[in-house]
Amino acid sequence: MTEFNLIQIAIAILFLPLVGFAFVLFLGKKIKSAYLVEVGILILTFLLTAVLLFNKLYWFADKNIVSEFSWISYKNIAVFGNISIDLGFLLDNLSVIMIFTVALISMLVHIFSIAYMAGDKLYNRYFAYLGLFTFSMSGIVLTHNILMMYVFWELVGISSYLLIGFWYEKKSAPDAGKKAFLVNRIGDIGMFSGIMMLFNTYHTFTFEKIFAQMASGTLPFNSEFWLTVTGLLLFCGAIGKSAQFPLHVWLPDAMEGPTPVSALIHAATMVAAGVFLVCRIFPMLTGDALFIIAVIGALSALIPATIALTQNDIKKVLAYSTVSQLGYMVMALGVGAYKFAFFHLITHAFFKACLFLGSGSVIHAMHHEQDITKMGGLKKKLPLTYATFLIASLALSGIPLTSGFLSKDGILQGTFAFGSLTGYWLFPAVGFVVAMLTAFYMFRLIILTFHGEPKNKEKYDHAHESPFVMAMPLVVLSALSIFIWYTPNPINADAGLFLGKWIKTPSLSVPQNARYSFMKTDLVPEGKAENNRDISNEVKKEGTAEGKEVIYSEAYTEAMHHAHYPAMFLSLFVALTGIVFAFVFYYWKKISADKLARDIKPFYKLSFNKWYFDEIYNATFVTFTMLSSRVLAWFDNTIVDGIVNGAATVTRMISFFTGRFDNIVVDGLVNLMAYLSGFIGLVLRRFQTGRVQTYIVLVVFSLVIILYLFKTF
């Protein structure tokens, strides 16, 4: 396997789904089983990504494979300067792991959809759209320049739009599609401006070349401030696509799409593209930019988590949870815990896809009932779905032996270290609160859905376990939520190859004085680096040995090390607390319910202090969280949506006036020009008499004129 072979495989991975898309779209009407081609292509694509992943990580783990060709090359042009654009692939560990994840989940969702979407009248077109999405997403992951990334970025936007509004006959679906598309647009404008800033400064779109020039001191407008601005503008794209505060409003609505689509696009892959973008541009983010990113991430983690507590729609709970987890990743990037952010991106993709497909299985079994207050007791009817759902929920809650525990613990450890180094203890605080809330709402969901008595007897009786094609993806995804794939040591992620060898924090290109203090270069003496216990791997060994740049300072390494165990135990503690609360409120409420409390109120007060617990919690915590989540929901619906709507109104008014101007003045001018052109044409046509004598006379005549003119020149 040479590097060239890998590039060929990558090309095949990128274009196979496009072939599937074209085939199913154009022949879907004629051939009933065209969708099988698309599913087959996805299975093939997945196998290719597996080959790619294995070979890249086994043979070329430390090497970035780049293959590019020159798309446009004008070299130097008088007015515009150097314009040359290269297109190409970048295969580094980040992209091959990501492409593997995308292809795997996409394949599983294809298979799942065979049964889930059965009987839909646009069955084939659904698969065509999935193919288009897989193609676009692969493009984002594999490209080596930000221009192509932007093109594919918009393409995933389109396929997301098409799939959200797939059931276009109910009104809410196309509306949700439009909302998603428009809200994303706001972020993309920022991203586009950022790309233009980069191109204006560096005359290239290729990441590596940009970073190389930046490291040698070229900055936008020669100032670190503008570098921060550029980084934040690019981050705007991530805010939109990854549904970060304040643009997160579209994601819950996007649940109008078919559930497998929610699993693939709106949980595992597309929404993670924003995080992936931040990972890609990480080397050019200044300390200020990172701090703002961390704040946005923290807000996005906290607000949706509190909202998720009160939702009754099974998919809405998962949607808010997705936003919250994405906020986690963004916050992790913001505090500099690059590796753990990407790690969480991967682990989250698997268990969240599993949860969504599991909810799809529940919805399928309950005949499109999505309200959890009408479910209950499904454990007996859907044992396999329950088991997989439970494993994935444990992972999401961060319980040991799951992948989620490792990645979430890493993020908390990162925020903890950040807090101890900079004094911003609010970030770890938010992290732990969100961890608790997450565990709580997930188990609330499980208890209401799978435990207790069935609330809707009729639907319950008709419920049935899903067929094999739906169960298989669940099993695969829940298996991937176990720690063993990532590290042999269930409490230390760094022990595994994933974080220990494959994923490394890229070296920064930002000027020293614009970084976080703990990311500044301090040269570690050679001997000390050897003695230094290799706990967190953040120190690039080879860099240290040569006396070159290290990414994090010694202090950070120390802080990470010290943070490991406190963060781990604390996160475990908050997760368990959340779960216990969920049980207290929703599972054991029969023995301790408020009804009982009302009946025997004095007894209740006197007998056991534990009862006070419930009261106090109900009065303070629950009410407060309920209230705050309502407030935040209100804030969401009124303020955030209001701003969006207000902007729309203003735009409409302006467009009305410009439209008028256009109609009268501009169109008038255009019509005048058109009339004039026509007139000139008519005059010129007169010369073409059709008589050859005239022609010859005209030739001789014009010849004389030319000669006369030339004499005077």
Binding site: F69, S70, W71, I72, S73, Y74, I77, A78, V79, A674, S677, G678, I680, G681, L682, L684, R685, F687, Q688, G690, V692, Y695, I696, L698, V699, S702, L703, I706, L707, L709, F710, K711, F713
Partner: protein
């Protein structure tokens, strides 16, 4: 005459020999085969394959043929010539395929021998036009092309339109070549040589009477200007394009124009050049102000072509005016007088060959089936014939020069050359012209897709082979519009003209 004089040069003119041999073979086969003429086009294609092989071979060459003590060489073989021969051969392939499929040509079945022989006569003439470096050969090759095309323009004989076009063409062509011959004789009178290289060295060293020199230069240009249909020497174009069989129109609009431009560039560059500076700009002998001449000519050529095209109802006539306008754009590349401009012209020709042949092919297919070339009869055609409609749409959008088609790239490079030479005003005029051209191209599209047919739908099928050829023409227009680095690489390696 020394026999080595011929033998040493023969290997340099292999493409011309291949074409001549095929021409002779066609005449013989026509006589031998009698009534069975189906084989002739395939012999022609075989001959073209040989010629294209030898033309490609010339990409690596750089030498003069027929050198003697008295003459510095009659024929040049260089990458520049090889490229234009490639364009001519490329167009010939398609035109011969069109001829097999054309109903017009099929109707005069018994004279197919003449038809292909005359086409090969034209090709031979064009090859010599492209590589000639001597005024005598230039004139002879030009006449060879003209005489063959006079007959071909009136080939079908059945329609009056045909014969009229042919006769106009003869008279007009005769006058033009007469004027050119006059110019050549004056030049010979001043310099005492017919070889371009010798004339160049002469005018650089000795003093030349200015007025007569200008006169001769412009008179010679008349002959070339008529071949490339530059205004005001274009008058034959609309009438002949409309009257001639459509295959011949397509051939004239691509191959003949390419050969004419090759001749023009070679004539100007070899005869008048002093030096080429490091940025690729040509310093010409300052007796004739060719720059102003070309600027003036290109402006009126594209403006007249575009404005006159606005009112045309006949598709072929509209395309005739459009080809005049395109000659104007190409002259812009000439006006820059730099290597950058040359690259732009070469890129434009690569693109132009695809889109113009494609447009004529669609017009021919439609004319075969519904028997009309009137734009108003195209109403609603896009619905009943979506494939033809979309292909024609691609070609017309590309002719307009809109992205993402290759036509955009062709225009873009011409504009870049202009901007690079700081001729911004000219670039703006060209841009405005493109806007005007949008009107008449889009008008066809509007008829195709936005209006309903007036009398019934068009019930016919495009055969597989025709569809394949259409895709072969249309797909590159899109592909080169998106990925055009290969075009630029070819162009950069094709600008090398022997001697400079």
């Amino acid at each position: 005459m020394n026999i080595n004089y011929l033998l040493n040069s023969l290997y340099l003119i292999k493409p011309e020999i291949a074409i001549s041999a095929t021409l002779v073979l066609l005449v013989l086969m026509d006589l031998i085969m009698g009534s069975n003429k189906k084989l002739l086009p395939y012999i022609a294609i075989a001959g073209l394959i040989a010629a294209s092989y030898f033309s490609v071979e010339q990409f690596g060459m750089s030498s003069l043929a027929f050198v003697s003590k008295a003459n510095k060489g009659m024929i040049v073989t260089d990458p520049f010539g090889a490229f234009f021969k490639g364009i001519v051969v490329f167009a010939s392939f398609f035109v011969i395929y069109f001829s097999i499929k054309s109903d017009e040509i099929k109707a005069s079945f018994e004279r197919h021998g003449e038809y292909y022989t005359l086409i090969f006569g034209m090709i031979l003439g064009m090859f010599f036009m492209i590589s000639a470096s001597d005024l005598i050969l230039i004139y002879l090759s030009l006449e060879l092309v003209s005489l063959s095309s006079y007959v071909l323009a009136g080939f079908t004989k059945t329609s009056q339109r045909n014969s009229e076009a042919s006769l106009k063409y003869v008279i007009y062509g005769g006058v033009s070549s007469g004027i050119m011959l006059f110019g050549i004789s004056i030049l010979y009178g001043i310099t005492g040589s017919t070889n371009l290289y010798e004339i160049n060295s002469l005018i650089q060293t000795s003093s030349i009477p200015n007025l007569t020199f200008i006169l001769s230069g412009i008179l010679i240009f008349v002959g070339i200007g008529y071949k490339i249909s530059a205004v005001p020497f274009h008058f034959w174009t609309p009438d002949v394009y409309e009257g001639a069989p459509i295959t011949i129109t397509a051939f004239l609009s691509v191959a003949s124009k390419a050969a004419g431009f090759a001749l023009l560039i070679r004539f100007i560059k070899i005869t008048f050049i002093k030096s080429v500076d490091s940025a690729g700009y040509w310093q010409l002998v300052d007796i004739i102000d060719w720059k102003t001449f070309f600027i003036f000519l290109s402006i009126i050529t594209m403006t007249l072509g575009n404005f006159a095209a606005l009112w045309q109802d006949n598709m072929k006539r509209m395309l005739a005016y459009s080809s005049i306008a395109h000659a104007g754009y190409l002259l812009l590349g000439m006006a820059v007088l730099s290597n950058q401009g040359m690259i732009a012209i070469i890129i434009y020709f690569m693109v132009y060959a695809f889109m113009n042949l494609g447009a004529f092919f669609v017009v021919m297919l439609i004319a075969n089936k519904i028997g009309t070339e009137d734009i108003d009869d195209y109403k609603g055609l896009g619905y009943s014939q979506p494939f033809l409609g979309v292909c024609l749409g691609i070609f017309l959008v590309s002719l307009t020069g809109l992205p993402p088609t290759a036509g955009f790239i062709g225009k873009l490079y011409i504009f870049i050359a202009l901007v690079d030479a700081k001729m911004i005003t000219l670039a703006v005029i060209a841009l405005l012209n493109s806007v005007v051209s949008l009107y008449y191209y889009i008008r066809v599209l509007r008829n195709l897709f936005l209006t309903r047919p007036e009398n019934g739908t068009f019930e016919f099928k495009v055969s597989f082979s025709n569809g394949l050829v259409l895709v072969l023409l249309a797909a590159p227009v899109i592909i080169f519009g998106l990925y055009f680095t290969p075009l630029i690489n070819i162009a950069k390696s094709s600008i090398q003209i022997l001697g400079f």
